[in-house]
């Protein structure tokens, strides 16, 4: 079916039935991909984007997890800050781009800030959710065993909340990748997003499709690696499907 669709697309473009002036045929995309790979341009851009994604994701995960744990465990902290986080989270991250551009300029820092800002939320929300969803029986077990506060957190709360945290981490990973690309499209002149914009300025739609497809593949690959690692570390610690854009 996928092949049939590609063939149909190719034929439509060749026969000039498709009226879109800049729609490249699949064969042109393949050619563009080959030259992008052989010229080494693609690899450099992929490395940049993946690097920023992973760096930003690590920071976002640490911040989100730490904050989430505090808000999940302490009712006071929750009561005196949750609405603030909800409100801030509701602001579409894309609108922060102009502010970040004004403050940091067209730079790597701006890209990182955007990636971290966006990546924090899924981890934060899922950590809080995971801690709150721990059944009270399990907490009673901790009390009955006379575990101290720290031991309870370490031996009961963390393992019980882990699956939810893992989901948050995975959602954050796809989100960080997309945000890195967005930041590169609008600001930081490097990586896949920048390649996309340059190809657009040079009116090379085939090359643009190459970058879009590479971005999609990166998302799939990062996701698969994440799942593999999680499966190796925590058995049964992941659930399918969340959101990503």
């Amino acid at each position: 079916m996928l092949v049939a669709a590609a063939v149909l697309w190719e034929l439509l473009v060749r026969a000039e039935v498709a009226e879109l002036q800049f729609l490249p045929a699949p064969s042109e995309i393949l050619l563009a991909a080959r030259s992008a790979v052989t010229e080494g341009e693609l690899l450099g851009r992929v490395i940049h984007t993946v690097g920023v994604t992973l760096l930003g994701w690590s920071v976002a995960s640490a911040v989100g997890f730490g904050l989430g744990l505090i808000l999940g465990l302490s009712n006071t902290a929750y009561r005196f800050s949750m609405t603030s986080f909800e409100v801030t989270r509701a602001i579409p991250p894309i609108t922060f781009v102009p502010a970040a551009l004004l403050i940091f300029g067209f730079s790597l820092r701006m890209e990182l800030v955007l990636v971290i800002f966006g990546g924090v939320w899924p981890v934060l929300v899922n950590t809080i959710g995971g801690v709150h969803a721990i059944p009270s029986e399990l907490r009673d077990v901790g009390a009955m065993l006379r575990l101290g506060r720290l031991a309870t957190v370490r031996k009961i709360v963390l393992p019980a909340a882990l699956p939810s945290v893992v989901v948050g981490l995975r959602l954050a990973l796809s989100l960080c990748l997309v945000l890195a690309i967005v930041a590169e499209i609008v600001g930081n002149p490097a990586g896949i997003g920048d390649g996309l914009i340059r190809a657009r300025q040079a009116l090379q739609p085939a090359l643009m499709f190459v970058y879009v497809i590479v971005a999609g593949l990166l998302g799939v690959v990062l996701n698969a690696i994440f799942r593999t690692v999680v499966r190796a570390l925590v058995p049964g610690g992941d659930t399918p499907d969340g959101r990503s854009w």
């Binding site: 005196f80 949750m82 603030s84 602001i91 004004l102 854009w245």
Partner: protein, 263 residues
């Protein structure tokens, strides 16, 4: 850990109080910002200068039309995405054959990040309203379609047997049994798709500079009006809060009507 879980207020008054206390850090931030920020700081202009900045240099008449533009693109895109997503979701949900035939194509299309599609779409389709809507639909359709498909598949077989044994017509089975049964799943998909659609709307506006709040923010940034940028961020945040809570309450209502509590 001797306290019980989430602090759920028993009364609505308790919950309202919690919502208010939760705002404390944000309020403190704004106050501190106001005290240390100066109105002409190139980076952190004081919050009190944001609102007036919307109306300086003869600007101001463009705000309301921008909000309307953004809301229109967003909601039109979301509505079309819902119609398309539900239709495809039902088609692949009821028939394993259709699913096998189109599955790989959907997987492929879904993997392409909509944000990266935006520059491509501006080249292929030009800088106009239909292009914006196409991109928003492309981004928002997947969660809706996937949730609908899952929803259809998780309908209890007893319910389908029931429809057959009552000899309901095909139309009545879809209208009276399938569609209502799948509504909570559809709305869950819409809830997930809502922020996605809004972000993509703003991104397209920002990149193309064609109308809407996104275009205004971009313009304010390029002409170095930081206070105006922050004011517009607040406006975008408010739009987001409003649409999210609308969708959420619609979902709540349907869930309650279906007697289901599960996520």
């Amino acid at each position: 850990m001797h306290r019980s879980g989430r602090p759920t207020g028993d009364s609505t008054r308790g919950r309202r109080f919690e919502v208010l206390t939760g705002l404390v850090p944000l309020v403190v931030l704004v106050i501190v910002w106001e005290i240390i920020g100066s109105p002409d700081s190139p980076f952190y202009p004081a919050p009190s200068s944001w609102w007036p900045a919307l109306f300086t240099r003869g600007q101001g008449e463009d705000i309301i039309p921008a909000i309307i533009d953004t809301t229109r693109t967003f909601s039109l895109g979301l509505v079309i995405a819902t119609i398309v997503g539900v239709t495809i979701g039902i088609a692949v949900g009821v028939s394993a054959r259709t699913d096998r035939a189109f599955g790989p194509m959907f997987e492929f299309a879904r993997a392409l990040p909509p944000a990266a599609m935006v520059p491509v779409a501006t080249l292929l389709l030009g800088f106009d309203e239909p292009m914006k809507i196409v991109v928003v639909v492309l981004a928002a359709v997947w969660p809706i379609m996937l949730n609908t498909r899952t929803g259809i598949r998780s309908i209890d077989p007893v319910r389908l047997d029931m429809a057959r044994s009552l000899r309901l017509s095909r139309r009545r089975t879809i209208g009276s049994v399938l569609l209502p049964a799948v509504m909570p799943a559809v709305l869950l998909g819409v809830r997930v798709a809502t922020p996605v659609a809004l972000v993509i709307t703003l991104l397209v506006e920002y990149l193309t500079g064609v109308n809407g709040v996104g275009a205004l923010v971009g313009d304010a940034q390029r002409t170095f009006q930081p206070a105006r940028v922050y004011a517009l961020i607040v406006i975008a945040g408010l739009i987001s809060l409003v649409v999210n809570s609308l969708v959420r309450s619609a979902e709540e209502r349907v869930r309650r009507r279906h007697g289901v509590e599960r996520e």
